[in-house]
Symmetry: C2
Subunit: 164 residues, 2 copies
DNA sequence: GTTAGTGCAAACCTTTTGCAGCTCT
DNA sequence: AGAGCTGCAAAAGGTTTGCACTAAC
């Protein structure tokens, strides 16, 4: 379990593992979802009603700095907040549907290749990488086509501007 | 020049090309830099002191929606604002040094391959893709090593905690 | 017993919105 | 003329900070 690895890492840095942090750690890791600070706060509050939103932000900052969680933007679908996931899996891209918001994870060798090329091309030392791809999932492509057809129908029925 | 293509695209959408928008368009395209809304606002103000910050945001939104500019996060180095660039070049990744903030652009086939794989793997229709890589540039790697050495020296000279 | 961490309130920064007046076409 | 656009002020959303109190080691 990744939580254990994270605990060890924190202990090594002399960071205290408080009750609040344990709760947040659990939530981030086990959900497997991509939660933002606010969602995390609400979930954490169910386990400790006193836990403050500020503590969530401070904990996330800590974990981020320690390279224990990755911060995502998910193409700013749904706002400008950030999303978090534990950094246990292999490097992957996030593929997000701009219509329904569904997030898929893509693992594949182009990502590793890209990293290696950037390292050798610029003599760059890669610390973190983030690839986000926005578009339409198979399901929403169909729905969008349908919507476009309906819109065209409406336009043909009702006159372009002022419906007399 | 890309500005012309953008003008045509806007005209087609029935969007007016006002004096303010021309100024902003010029700035975004010709600088070749990755400017954020505030920088853009300040530069635009030099050409038209009346131009409002809100107009900058509205124009950016318009260009973004039209797929004419891309919005970047640059790994949130320097804050939570967004950066903009015209969408004329080939797809590329942004490589940003977490120490000095320098941004490099990387073009390479892994990016195209990634896109194609995501499309075929999920039946996904890709609209926009963003890859950002954070780490240390060759120059800063040297400086960081130096800094680490100096810190070690300091620690060895002065006792760990309370300097008696 | 120290030092780090928490909660609370308030500030901060970036971005958006409502509305009256202005301006392109 | 008329829709679109701008400026201003104010609000909204997300995140950070200062400080006194509390808890982990």
């Amino acid at each position: 379990m990744a939580v254990q690895a994270i605990r060890d890492s924190l202990k090594q840095r002399g960071v205290r593992l408080t009750r609040q942090r344990q709760i947040l750690l659990e939530l981030i890791d086990k959900s497997g979802l991509h939660l933002d600070a606010e969602q995390l706060y609400k979930l954490a509050k169910e386990k400790d009603s006193k836990l403050n939103r500020v503590t969530v932000y401070r904990t996330l900052k800590l974990l981020k700095e320690g390279g224990l969680v990755d911060e995502l933007d998910l193409m700013h679908w749904g706002g400008d907040q950030h999303y978090y996931e534990t950094r246990t899996k292999q490097e992957h891209a996030h593929v997000i549907c701009l219509r329904c918001g569904k997030v898929e994870e893509f693992f594949g060798e182009p990502l590793q290749k890209l990293r290696r090329q950037v390292e050798s091309h610029f003599g760059f030392q890669v610390v973190l990488a983030r690839t986000e791809i926005g578009g339409y999932c198979a399901h929403c492509q169909v729905l969008r086509a349908q919507e476009a057809r309906e819109a065209a129908d409406r336009a043909a029925t009702a006159p372009p501007r002022k419906p007399a």
